[in-house]
Structures are given as structure tokens and as C-alpha cells.
């Protein structure tokens, strides 16, 4: 039987999904620890992509730029928590939604104003060839981005699972009050989690620049996908994210091919609605 382009699409969907997972794991970490849905998540990703582009101008390719961008985004995230999100948490419940949404608008406007709406791609991409594996053609850049994302996701899982700060993060998302009573400094851990979540967009942004171009509105596209991923996996569930992201990656790539490229986001949104209506706790989430 001729399966046509299916294997090719599946590989492409999985590689795309891994990048979604890296972005979404940051979103779900922030949500799990402090109950904040960061509507500006995609805009941080956009900033990271511009930062990678900027480092490319001084000769660093995206892979070399990655650690720099990750550290910078971590610091930025921690500062945004310390000087902005912390205030929102003290306000009325809608303040967090409106506040991070305002951040989205502000960052997008700033990018458009300072960087213009032009598309920017790195001038010195380190990978440009194509690998042929048993009839499947994979762009080296896409493969590097996907594998890079996989390594980093594994590192984050390991960190959350096996280290002391990781345990503190998990404790906070399980039961904030109890964690506090056990001597965990909530404000410090919140800032740390926010920084870590934003650092994930930093890593993803650097990897994305291997294959994508940066422009001011790119964040919204990825953020919407990340919301779907996080809802699928269950808000706050780190493991659910990987499953959700691979599903969404496959749905997007297969939908784009078998339905129509213009309609590729349609099944993704439909999937979100189906999940929240039928299984609001997500595929792996707890009630």
C-alpha cells in the first residue's frame, strides 16, 4: 500500500510538536506555580526571536546564541514578575488576565515600532541541507530545532522531577499554603518560576530562528497554539504538555496537508473547544 506523504508528515508534525512543547512547558509551569495564564507568552517568544536575530548580526548563530538568550529571558521574566505580575496577583482576579494581555499589546506595539513589521531571518543559518532517510526528506534545520527542543524538555523534566528547587515548584503547584508552611519562599519561587517559564520561550525562540522568521505578530500565532497544548495536557501538568504538543503538531501538519493550508489552524481551535467542553481537566490533568 502506498502511504503517500504520511510518514513525511508525521515526522514533520512531531518535530513541530516538540517546539510547541518547549513553548508550552513554560506556560504551564507559570500557570501551575502561580495560577497565572500568561497571555503575553507569545510576545516573550517574539522578543527571544528578535534577540537571536540581533546576536546573529554580531556573528553568533542561533545555537551559540541560545544560552545567551535563555539567560537574558530568565532575567527578564524574573524582573517582569518582581515589578509587574506580583502587583497583579495582589489585585482583583481579572487583573492578571488584563495585565498580561496589556503586556502582549505593549510588547507587540514596541516590536512593531522599533523593529518595523519586516520579516527578519538570521543571515548565517548553521543548517541548510536536507537529510533523506528512507524516502523521508527532513530539513537539517528543522531536525536540529526539534532535537534541541527535545533535549531541553528532557532537561526541564529532570530539573522539575529531581532537583530541590524543582521539588519546591511542584510543591507550590500542589498546595500553595502547605508549601509555604514547609518554609518555601513563595515570592522567590514565583519569580524563579516566571523566569524559568520565560527562559523556555528564550530557548524556543532561538531554535525557531533556525527555520522561522521573526516579525512582531509571530508570538500570537504560537501563543494560541500553546494555549491549546496546555489545555489539552491539563493546565499545570508538565507531562501532559508533551503529549498535547505532539498531538497539536500532528493535527496542524496533517490538517494543513489534507484539508487546506489556509485551514490548518481550524482543527487546532476545534480541538481546544472539544477538550475544554468534554474533558476540561485535559488529557492528563487532575481535576
Amino acid at each position: 500500500m502506498d502511504v503517500g506523504p504520511l510518514p513525511q508528515l508525521i515526522v514533520s508534525g512531531i518535530l513541530t510538536g516538540l517546539l510547541f512543547a518547549l513553548i508550552s512547558v513554560g506556560l504551564t509551569l507559570i500557570f501551575g506555580v502561580m495560577d497565572v495564564v500568561n497571555f503575553a507568552h507569545g510576545e516573550f517568544l517574539m522578543l527571544a526571536m528578535y534577540a537571536t536575530f540581533g546576536l546573529g548580526l554580531i556573528g553568533l548563530n542561533p545555537i551559540l546564541a541560545l544560552p545567551v538568550v535563555v539567560v537574558a529571558m530568565f532575567v527578564l521574566g524574573a524582573l517582569v514578575y518582581r515589578f509587574f505580575v506580583k502587583r497583579l496577583l495582589a489585585g482583583p482576579p481579572e487583573a492578571v488576565v488584563f495585565g498580561t494581555f496589556g503586556l502582549l499589546v505593549f510588547l507587540q506595539g514596541a516590536a512593531q515600532f522599533f523593529f518595523t513589521s519586516d520579516y527578519r531571518s538570521v543571515l548565517n543559518p548553521p543548517f541548510s541541507g536536507t537529510l533523506h532517510l528512507g524516502g523521508i526528506a527532513i530539513g537539517e534545520a528543522q531536525l536540529a530545532a526539534g532535537l534541541g527542543a527535545l533535549v531541553l524538555i528532557a532537561a526541564i523534566f529532570g530539573f522539575v522531577e529531581y532537583t530541590e528547587p524543582g521539588r519546591a515548584l511542584r510543591a507550590l503547584s500542589e498546595d500553595r499554603v502547605a508549601a509555604q508552611l514547609m518554609g518555601i519562599d513563595v515570592q522567590r519561587m514565583n519569580a524563579f518560576a516566571f523566569g524559568l517559564g520565560i527562559a523556555c520561550t528564550g530557548a524556543a525562540g532561538a531554535l525557531l530562528m533556525l527555520t522561522y522568521q521573526a516579525y512582531p505578530r509571530i508570538g500570537t500565532e504560537f501563543a494560541l497554539t500553546a494555549f491549546v497544548v496546555v489545555a489539552l495536557g491539563g493546565f499545570g501538568s508538565v507531562h501532559g504538555v508533551l503529549l498535547g504538543a505532539l498531538l497539536v503538531g500532528l493535527v496542524e501538519v496533517l490538517g494543513g496537508y489534507y484539508i487546506a493550508p489556509a485551514l490548518k489552524m481550524l482543527p487546532v481551535y476545534a480541538l481546544y473547544l472539544a477538550v475544554v467542553f468534554l474533558r476540561p481537566q485535559g488529557l492528563l490533568g487532575r481535576r
Binding site: 495564564v37 509587574f84 502587583r87 497583579l88 489585585g91 482583583p92 482576579p93 481579572e94 487583573a95 488576565v97 488584563f98 495585565g99 494581555f101 496589556g102 503586556l103 502582549l104 499589546v105 505593549f106 510588547l107 507587540q108 506595539g109 514596541a110 516590536a111 512593531q112 515600532f113 518595523t116 513589521s117 512582531p216 500570537t220 494560541l224 494555549f227 491549546v228 489545555a231 493546565f235 487546506a260 489556509a262 485551514l263 489552524m265 481550524l266 481551535y269 476545534a270 481546544y272 473547544l273 475544554v276 467542553f277 476540561p280
Partner: protein, 316 residues
Amino acid sequence: MTVQRHVAVMACVLAATALFTAFCHDQFLLSLAFTGLIFAVLGQSWNWISGYAGQVSFGHALFFGTGAYASALFATHHGSPWLALACGAAVAVVLALLVGFPCFALRGHYFSIATIAVAAIAEIVVVNTDALGKANGFELPILPPGLASLQFAGKAPYVLVALVLFAAAQIATVALEHSRTGYYLRAIRANQEAAASVGVDARAVKVTAFAGAAAFAALAGSLYAQQTLFVDAESTLGLSVSIAIALVGVVGGIGTVWGPPLGAFVYTFLARYVAALYGGHGRGFDLLLYGALILAIVSVQPEGIAGIARRFRART
């Protein structure tokens, strides 16, 4: 505020806008006033559900777009614009019921993201449907000016028509505030479980308010289409429109009668006028300014501009 005070403020705003329209001959300023009034109605209708009931929607453009497309379809098929207003509102109400019923089972961010998804689906469907003009949209045919065609030679009559809709939205909001539904909405925002425990059918109340809000947003969309004579998916259904509507409400102050109009005034002044002076559209200066304003308001004065006014009144 008491009803008498609302009436007094209303009379002043109406008189001021009417006077401005009568004596202003600058077409740019008049079109800004029109935009401001349309956004006031949009922000106000959004406020019903996202302010009073606390269910933050980022998909309100769905209903605005419904009205705009109703006008575009009727105009290109030689229908009366008045019929378009009625049909657009009716379709918006049906959509609100269809969308609202499942979505209002969701809470918090689940609801907010669902509204984004629903509006995005609508936009994708429109952009891929021939009968709805695909991504090109519609240019409405230019008809002899007059009330029958709802097209006018200058901008001033448009402002007056929008003023009528604005007045209706304000009156409806005051009526809502003092109605049983209005109290229920605020009770739901404060504590849905407590409201439900005393017999408030939260979902039915929210869907009712949602349907009313949808009708007003659709009427605003129809008037907008009559004025710009161009309708496409991005400018009427896009996420950026939904964002603008929500921001108008947040800046002005959610859950208040005069917050959204204040927010709309600030929005049109900042986003359109100042941005036109410095750099114009497309450079994002409007978003930058507006985003900064939101950040300042949310972190310093979560009740919006109306909250500042209230605080000031409380002091005097």
C-alpha cells in the same frame, strides 16, 4: 450613581456631541467622533459580560463582524440597510446563544481562550468562503445619500446616527444595572457558587446578557460598515479588533456605566489621533501607547479611569 445623575451626565454628553457635530467641519475629527461612539458601544456591550459578569471575552469582534457582514451582504444584494441592521442583530443573538451556551460552562481563562478560538474559527471560515468575499472582503456600493440608504454625503450625519445607538446602549446599561439580571450578573462575578446556591441560574443569566451584548455589537458593526463602505475579515473579525474592544473596557473601567465611553474616548484620541500625528498607522505606535496605558492602569488603578473619577467624587 443614581438614575438622575446618569440622566444628567447623559444629557450633557449628548448635547456636547450634537453641538460638536453641528459646528465641526473637520471631516477627520468627525470620523474620529464616529469611531469613538462605535467603540463606546462595543466596549459597553463587552462590559455587560466581561465587566458586570466578570467573564473576560477576547472574541467580541465576532458580533461586530456579524453586523458588518450583514450590512455588506444586504448592500451588495440590494437589500435595505435597515433590514441589514435588524438581521445582523438577530444573527448575532442566535450566534451568542449557540456560542454562549457551551462556553459559559467554562470559567476564567478557559472561557477567555474559548472566545479567542471561536472568533478565530469564524475568521478562518469567512476568509475561506466565496459568498462572504474570502480575504478580499466587500466594497459596499455607493448609493444616493439619505436615511433610506443609510449613506450620507458628509461625516456629521453618521456621527448623529452613532450617537443614537450610543444613547440606546447607555440607557440599556443603566436599565441593566437596576434590573434583576444586572444584580445576578454582579453576584455571579462576586461568587458564582454563592449566587447559584440562592437559586440564580448562572448560565441562563450570562447567556441572556451575552445575547443582548451581541445585538448591540452587531448594530455597531452595521453602522461601521455603512460608514467605511468596506468590510473584510481582519478589520472586523480579527483578534486585534477583539483586543481593542476589551482594552476600551479595561482602560475606562469595567462594570461601570461610564467606563467604556471614557475608554473609547481615550482609545480614539490616543490610538487614532496621536498615532496619526506621530508615525501613523502600521508602525505600532498606537499599540505601544495603549499597551503602556493598560500596564499603568492595571498595576496602579485596576478600576480604570472611571475608578479614578469615583475615588475623586468620594473625596469631595
